[in-house]
C-alpha cells in the first residue's frame, strides 16, 4: 500500500443502518475512505419499514428505494450486490464472500441486521412457510395472495399485524395466531389491545389467542396446507407467515471471534472488541440492548460516522423508543413503561364508544410511558416530555386533553393529521400542503423533522405546525420517527455542539468574537450560517457586554437596519412611547415626518405606539433625525414595549399607578437584547386591562402591592403567565423583573421565548433563583444594569453616521456614457 492510497472501509450489510452510517460519514468526510459495500440482497438500500404499505398495495417497491445503484456510483462506492460475506479474516484484514469475492479493509463496519426467528416445529421448511423481512418475502406473499385463499400469521405483534392487514387487503382469508392472551403485549395494555383487536376484526381479520403451534402440515402438492395447534385445533393454511421475533444476525461476527452476547457487543462509540471493526443496527448489542426500530439505529449510525470520520466527539448512550402501528385507519401509539406498578400512577381516559383510549403512566411527576389508541394526536408531545424527563406537575390537569388544549388556536382547530385531505395546507407560513409532505417523506426517504423542514420548508418558519408535521411523519414512517431529545440537539448543521455547550465554552474560554468561536469550537462551515451566526452574536454580547463588539453582519436585517423589513422590501419605523404615553409635540413631529416623507401608512400598533409603515431604507436616518425620538426596538429580539393601563391616576377602579411603573420599567430596560422579543405589561388592578398575564412579564397592581407574572405569550400559541411572586414596592418590581430578564438572557436558547425557557427550566427553578435566593437575584439585576449601561440609542448613533453604508445606494447614471473615451467611470456615491 502506498501512502497516497485512501483508507479502505468495507461495509457488510446493505441495509438501513449501514447505509445511513455511510451517508452521515460522507457528509462529514466525503473523501476520507475508499468504500466497498457487500449486500446479500439483489437491491440497493431500501426502506424496509415501508414493506408493509407495499404489501398492503399502497406503495410500490420503486417508491421505497432509499439509495439506488446510481447513488453508490456517484459517491465512488464499490457495490457488491447479491454477495453474502461468509468470512472475516481479521489477521489479514479482509472479507470473503460466498462466491469468492474478496475485499481488504482498514476499517470494517458490520450492519448485518437480524434474522427472523423460525419456530422449531415440524413442517417449518415446507414451501409456503415464510418470514416477513425483505423484498423477497413480500414478493412471495403478494404472489401467494393471488393464488391461494387461506393465510395464517403466527405472531400478533407489530410485524404480524401489519402482515395480516396487508394479506387481508390483498383478498386472503387471514387468521392471526398469538401465544399470549392479548395482541402486541409488549407495546399495549389489555384494554388498548382489545380495542385494537375489535377494529381489526371489523376489517375482517380473525384471531386465535393463547394458541401454540404444534405442526405445519403438507398438502398433496407438497406445499403447506394446514396448521395444527397444541390444543388439537386445525386450520387450513396455504400460506404461513412467521412473525414471532427477530434475532441479531451475529453468525459471521462470532465465527470471526468477535465478542457477542446475543448481539455484537459495542461500546458507546459503536466500536466492537476489535478496534478496527465497528457495528451498527439490529445486529448490535449496546449496553445489553438490541434495538429493532429504525430511530435508535439512525442515532447509532450518526455516532459511528462521527468516529469513522475521526471527529471523535459523540457518544451513543442508548435510546427510548416508541411504537406506532402502520395500519391505515388505525391510530395506535405506545412508548416507555405503559404498565406501571406500585410506585406509579396512571391517568386514564377511556371512551370506548368513540374508540378512544389513552393511558399515561406517571412516576415522580414525570411521564414514564403511555398508550394511545384511536387518537394519537399528542403521541409526539408525550414522547418528547418522556424523553426530556420533563416535570409535568404543572401540566397535569391538562395533560390528557393534549397540547392543543394548552392554547393552540391555529390551523382552524384541525389537529388530526390522518383525517386531513392531501390539499390541506399544513404550513401556512410556507404554503405547504399535506400531500406534498407525504410525497417528500416517501420519495426522499425522510425520517426526521429536520429532514422534512429541509426538503419541504414545512414547519421551518413559525413552527406552529410542528405537531401536525410530526404526526404526518409518524403516520408514514411509524416508530422510525423519534423527536429529537432537545437537550442533545446541536445548535445547527454547522456544529455538533448544543447551545449550552457553546455558551459554556464562550464564558469559560473567554471567546470574544464569532471567528474566534468558530475556530475554537471547530465549526464545520467557514462562517457559520444564518441560523448560528445571530445566536453566536447574541451569546457573545450577553457574556461580555463590555468587550464584545456587535457584528451587524451576523444580525437579521431588521436588527441591522434597526427597522422592520416589510413584504415589499420597505421598512417600518416605530419610535418608543414609554408606557404608551405621548405628548402633542411628539404627535406633531410624527405627523410632520409622515407628510414630509410621504409615508404610505400610519398605524397604532399592538404595542401602544405609532408605526410609520412603507418607508424607503435610504430615508431611515433622515426620518429618525426629524422624529428625534428613541428607537422602539419593534424590530428586535429585544425589549419591545411595556403596555400599561390607565391606572389609579385616572381610573375609578385603579389601586396602583400602573402607567408610572410601566414608564419606569421601560426606561430601565429599553435597549435590552434578549434571546427573543420580550414584552411587558402593567395593569393597575386585577381587572387587568393591559392584558398583562399573557406577556413575558406581566405585573398586576393589588391593594397590598404588585403581583408579578412571567412566561406568558399572546402569539401563535396563547399561553397564560405563571405567578412568580407578590412584592410591595416599585423598586422591588424592578429588581425581580430585572433578575428574571437576566436569567432568561443568560440561560435560554437563542429564539426561545420566555415561555419555552420556563417550560424547560421549570418554574420551581426560576422561583429558586429569583424569589428564594436574594443575593443571587441582586447579582442578576446588577449584571443586567451593567450590560444595559453600554447600550446606546441605535437611531441616534446612525443619525450621527454609524454604519452609514448600510443606508446608502451606490448610483450611476447613463450606462451609455461609459462607452467611448474612457472605458470606466466612477459610480457616484451619493448620500441618501
Amino acid at each position: 500500500m502506498t501512502t497516497t492510497k485512501k483508507t479502505r472501509l468495507v461495509v457488510i450489510g446493505n441495509g438501513m443502518a449501514g447505509i445511513r452510517a455511510l451517508e452521515e460519514l460522507l457528509k462529514l468526510a466525503p473523501d476520507m475512505y475508499d468504500i466497498t459495500v457487500f449486500g446479500a440482497e439483489p437491491h440497493g438500500n431500501y426502506n424496509r419499514i415501508l414493506l408493509s404499505p407495499v404489501l398492503a398495495g399502497e406503495m410500490t417497491i420503486k417508491d421505497i428505494m432509499l439509495n439506488d445503484v446510481d447513488w453508490y456510483a456517484q459517491n465512488g462506492i464499490t457495490l457488491h450486490l447479491n454477495k453474502t460475506v461468509t468470512q472475516i479474516d481479521r489477521v489479514r484484514r479482509k472479507v470473503i464472500a460466498a462466491d469468492g469475492t474478496e475485499a481488504d479493509y482498514d476499517r470494517l463496519l458490520l450492519a448485518t441486521g437480524s434474522n427472523p426467528v423460525m419456530l422449531p416445529v415440524p413442517g417449518k421448511e415446507l414451501p409456503g412457510v415464510i418470514a416477513y423481512r425483505d423484498i423477497k418475502d413480500t414478493g412471495e406473499m403478494i404472489e401467494a395472495a393471488s393464488h391461494y385463499r387461506h393465510a395464517v400469521v403466527i405472531g400478533g405483534g407489530l410485524l404480524g399485524l401489519e402482515a395480516a392487514n396487508g394479506l387481508k387487503l390483498r383478498g386472503m382469508d387471514v387468521t392471526v395466531a398469538h401465544l399470549m392472551p392479548w395482541l402486541m403485549e409488549r407495546q399495549l395494555d389489555k384494554t388498548a389491545a382489545q380495542m385494537l383487536q375489535a377494529s381489526l376484526e371489523a376489517k375482517g381479520l380473525k384471531f386465535k389467542l393463547e394458541k401454540q403451534t404444534a405442526e405445519l402440515i403438507a398438502g398433496e402438492s407438497g406445499r403447506v396446507s394446514a396448521i395444527r395447534f397444541k390444543d388439537g385445533e386445525t386450520l387450513p393454511a396455504d400460506l404461513v407467515v412467521m412473525a414471532v421475533g427477530i434475532r441479531p444476525n451475529t453468525g459471521l461476527a462470532e465465527a470471526a471471534g468477535l465478542h457477542c452476547d446475543r448481539g455484537v457487543v459495542v461500546n458507546d462509540t459503536m466500536q466492537t472488541y476489535d478496534p478496527r471493526i465497528y457495528a451498527v443496527g439490529e445486529c448490535v448489542s449496546h449496553r445489553g440492548i438490541s434495538y429493532g426500530l429504525v430511530a435508535p439505529l439512525f442515532e447509532q449510525a450518526k455516532v459511528c460516522a462521527n468516529h469513522l470520520a475521526q471527529f471523535g466527539i459523540s457518544r451513543y448512550t442508548g435510546s427510548v423508543t416508541s411504537t406506532k402501528l402502520k395500519v391505515t385507519g388505525i391510530d395506535l401509539f405506545s412508548a416507555g413503561d405503559f404498565i406501571g406498578g406500585a410506585d406509579a400512577e396512571e391517568i386514564v381516559l377511556s371512551d370506548p364508544a368513540a374508540g378512544v383510549y389513552k393511558k399515561l403512566v406517571i412516576k415522580d411527576d414525570k411521564i414514564a410511558g403511555g398508550v394511545l389508541y384511536g387518537d394519537t394526536t399528542d403521541g409526539s408531545w408525550y414522547f418528547q416530555l418522556l424523553r426530556n424527563g420533563q416535570n409535568i406537575r404543572e401540566l397535569r390537569n391538562h395533560l390528557m386533553f393534549g397540547q392543543n388544549h394548552l392554547g393552540n388556536a391555529g390551523h382552524q382547530g384541525r389537529s388530526n393529521a390522518a383525517d386531513l385531505p392531501d390539499d390541506f395546507e399544513v404550513c401556512g407560513c410556507n404554503g405547504v400542503c399535506k400531500g406534498a409532505i407525504v410525497k417528500a417523506i416517501k420519495e426522499k426517504g425522510l425520517f426526521t423533522l429536520e429532514d422534512v423542514r429541509k426538503h419541504t420548508r414545512a414547519s421551518s418558519s413559525c413552527g406552529s405546525c410542528t405537531g401536525l408535521v410530526e404526526q404526518i411523519l409518524s403516520s408514514v414512517v411509524g416508530g422510525a420517527y423519534a423527536p429529537q431529545d432537545a437537550s442533545k440537539k446541536p445548535m445547527c448543521g454547522c456544529t455538533e455542539y448544543t447551545h449550552e455547550e457553546v455558551r459554556r465554552a464562550i464564558r469559560k474560554d473567554r471567546l470574544l468574537s464569532i471567528p474566534e468561536t468558530l475556530r475554537f469550537m471547530e465549526w464545520k462551515t467557514p462562517n457559520g450560517c444564518p441560523s448560528c451566526r445571530p445566536a453566536l452574536n447574541y451569546y457573545l454580547m450577553c457574556a461580555f457586554p463590555h468587550e464584545v463588539h456587535d457584528d451587524p453582519r451576523s444580525r437579521f436585517i431588521n436588527e441591522r437596519a434597526h427597522a422592520n423589513i416589510q413584504k415589499d422590501g420597505s421598512y417600518s419605523v416605530i419610535p418608543r412611547m414609554y408606557g404608551g404615553v405621548t405628548t402633542p409635540a411628539e404627535l406633531r413631529r410624527i405627523a410632520e415626518v409622515a407628510e414630509k416623507y410621504r409615508v404610505p401608512a400610519v398605524k397604532v400598533t399592538g404595542g401602544q405606539r405609532i408605526g410609520l409603515l412603507g418607508v424607503k431604507k435610504e430615508s431611515l436616518p433622515d426620518i429618525w433625525r426629524d422624529l428625534d425620538m428613541p428607537s422602539g426596538h419593534a424590530y428586535g429580539k429585544a425589549l419591545r414595549t411595556v403596555k400599561t393601563c390607565v391606572g389609579s391616576e385616572w381610573c375609578r377602579f385603579g389601586v396602583r399607578d400602573s402607567t408610572a411603573l410601566g414608564i419606569r420599567l421601560e426606561k430601565t430596560f429599553e435597549r435590552m437584547w434578549a434571546p427573543h422579543k420580550t414584552k411587558l405589561a402593567v395593569s393597575g388592578c386585577p381587572r387587568n386591562c393591559a392584558e398583562a398575564t399573557i406577556k413575558d412579564v406581566g405585573i398586576v397592581g393589588v391593594d397590598s402591592g404588585w403581583e408579578i407574572y412571567i412566561a406568558g405569550n399572546g402569539g401563535i400559541k396563547a399561553e397564560v403567565c405563571a405567578f412568580l411572586v407578590k412584592v410591595g414596592t416599585q423598586d422591588e418590581v424592578l429588581e425581580y423583573v430585572g433578575a428574571f430578564m437576566q436569567l432568561y438572557r443568560e440561560e435560554a436558547h437563542y429564539l426561545d421565548r420566555t415561555v419555552h425557557f420556563v417550560q424547560r427550566a421549570g418554574l420551581d427553578y426560576v422561583k429558586r433563583r429569583i424569589v428564594e435566593d436574594a443575593a443571587g437575584r441582586r447579582a442578576l439585576y446588577a449584571q443586567l444594569l451593567d450590560a444595559l449601561s453600554v447600550e446606546k440609542d441605535p437611531w441616534a448613533e446612525r443619525v450621527s453616521g454609524v454604519e452609514a453604508q448600510e443606508f446608502r445606494t451606490i448610483r450611476f447614471f447613463g450606462k451609455n456614457e461609459t462607452k467611448g473615451g474612457s472605458n470606466e467611470r466612477l459610480a457616484e456615491n451619493l448620500p441618501a
Partner: protein, 103 residues
C-alpha cells in the same frame, strides 16, 4: 471589456456584507464574503422578489430576508430544495476597487 464600471473601493463593502448598486433602472446586489470574493446578482429573490442584498451572507451564499430562501452567489441558483435563479453579473477586483459589468 468596455462595459466595466468602477463601483467603489473594496473596503466600502463590509466583509460578509453587501451594497446596493442602482443604474437608474434596477438594483443590483454586490456582495463581499469572508475571503474577499466579490459577487453581483439582481437584487431580487427568485421566490417573491425579496431584496437579497439585505440577507445574511455566509460562505458563497446569501439567505433572503423575506422567507429564507438561500441563493448560491457564484451561480445565482437557489439552493435545494428551492428552485429558481437570479441573474448574475460579472465582477472583478483591481487595485482595491470593485468593478461591475452589466453586459
Amino acid at each position: 471589456m468596455s462595459d466595466w464600471l468602477r463601483i467603489c473601493p473594496l473596503e466600502d463593502i463590509p466583509r460578509l456584507g453587501s451594497r446596493v448598486v442602482n443604474n437608474g433602472d434596477i438594483d443590483i446586489a454586490v456582495f463581499r464574503n469572508a475571503e474577499d470574493e466579490i459577487f453581483a446578482v439582481d437584487d431580487r429573490c427568485p421566490h417573491k422578489g425579496g431584496p437579497l442584498s439585505q440577507g445574511i451572507v455566509f460562505d458563497r451564499r446569501v439567505t433572503c430576508p423575506l422567507h429564507g430562501m438561500t441563493i448560491h452567489l457564484d451561480t445565482g441558483e437557489a439552493a435545494a430544495p428551492d428552485k429558481g435563479c437570479t441573474h448574475k453579473y460579472r465582477v472583478r477586483l483591481d487595485k482595491g476597487d470593485v468593478y461591475l459589468n452589466l453586459g
